[in-house]
């Protein structure tokens, strides 16, 4: 992304669920302030929340970066967690590797990645087992 982009960084705290979702709520406020259309805001808000939750469940948190230009929004979610062993499998609805205690909280239903794909114009996953995962969510504004 070029220098003209607005850039915001959020630390996704992996220590507890209490703060999970904070980055997507803050991002939503920013997007509203600069007049992004409600439909795009909703899709970003849902997809980013899923991503944040995934980072908390699987990777002890990570970094969320938001880049905004006049015609594109990029949400970059980066962690140094376990990585995704089989991306194709992980993209299937209902597939989950979340432990039982997480499912008991209502998370880990296996809809995270599918929802992120559904609620973005473009999604890139860059992952390596034992190293970490970076997911890019792209949105076209024009």
């Amino acid at each position: 992304m070029n220098n003209e982009a607005l850039h915001y960084h959020f630390d996704v705290d992996g220590a507890s669920f209490a703060n999970a979702g904070r980055a997507s709520v803050e991002t939503k406020k920013l997007l509203r302030q600069i007049g992004v259309s409600p439909d795009v805001i909703r899709r970003i808000s849902v997809a980013m929340y899923e991503g944040e939750i995934n980072m908390v469940i699987h990777a002890h948190g990570g970094d969320a970066d938001v880049y905004i230009t006049e015609d594109t929004i990029l949400i970059q979610l980066k962690d140094v967690g376990p990585g995704i062993r089989n991306v194709e499998e992980a993209m299937k609805e209902g597939f989950s590797t979340a432990p039982e205690n997480i499912r008991a909280l209502g998370f880990g239903a296996g809809m995270g990645l599918p929802n992120m794909k559904r609620y973005s114009d473009d999604m890139h996953i860059d992952t390596k087992v034992g190293v970490g995962t970076t997911i890019e969510l792209w949105y076209r504004l024009k």
Partner: protein, 421 residues
Amino acid sequence: MAVYTHSVTIEPEKCTGCTTCLRRCPVEAIRIRNDKAVINANQCIDCGECIRVCKHSAKRASYDRLDELDFSKHLIALPAPSLFGQFNHLDEADYVIQGLLDMGFSEVYEVAKAAEYVTDLTRIYINSPEAVKPVISSACPVVVRLIKLRFPTLCEQLVPIMPPYELAGKLAKEEALRKHPELSPEDVKTVFISPCPAKVSWAKSVMEGQTVYVDFITSMNDVYMELLSKMKGSEPGPEAAPEAGSVGLRWAMTSGEAASLMNEGYLTADGIDNVIKVLDDLESGMLGDIGFVELNACSPGCVGGVLAPSNGYVARLRLQTLQKTVVVKPNKLEDIDSMDSFGEGIPDEYTESEAFTYMPDGAPNMFKLMLAMKKADALAEKLPNKDCGACGSPTCKAFALDVVNGEADLSDCKVRSQMEG
């Protein structure tokens, strides 16, 4: 479109320019300019928080004064359900209604009764195909305005039914004109006895050409004083028998509205900060399977409104006691004779008069706004970030944006100049 008139006025001679309201305003609509608080009407949601927290009584809600009412007209009092929780040792609602009649009102129509019809209408709406789940109650005008200003994607989830006080006004007028054919519509005026100022703004801000069924909105505080003296030593007659049941009374307390629906998983919250948090989570679509959401700006519901004289929690306790004395069976839609069939959704005459559409503050020009944000972000990094409020803006971030927009001067930041000096 009508200009939005918010319901809080500031008394400059009392305002000391302290930063209490500045920092407590949930939507950052207040600035201190020339040592006085100023409210941005476009952003204010009328929650009343600034009235509540002001230590100098410098904020006043605007409403219609009792002594300005013309009691020679056919005035119908519309008491909010919360009014019945304001009295010690009240064991029958009749005393309150008789007191209102003794004050000079020609009739009393309980808003609690209309609330029971709204419950019925909401039940029909929830089961209709056009309902977007979870459906959000539109009874609290603060919540409605907050959603319209800041939660664009939730607008379609608001229940499109007029709030109980409006429906009460409509039904009361129709009934009065039926009972008294000699009266003309101009002679019949409705007076809502309100626990909160947000309802005042709501009535004043509806669009031109729309019918508003509540003609005057008075403060419960004002009515209380007068009513109390009338209630002493007066025995209620048969015309003072309450018509609302316990379902309607419960609307004054958080969860009362939701529980009365009796058919859905529901979520309720009160207090403006909690409401905002729930709306944020709702917008992320992550609250799970919920049919209905009831949100109240005041805690523990309308009984906690800033125009209500009693402590809201005490009022709630009294209402819970009083509830046991009134009939349990609620008023049903079938009883309104003007209403024959409602099988095909909600008839237009009961729907909310103003469409719930997103109305952002000003026309957004993304490029300009982005440029301003970028400048403000850069400036904010040079600020102390103590959010002290001494400059007159609620946070350093807000101050940076105010400077960029030409509404404040960088020299207003005293902390920064001290740190540099």
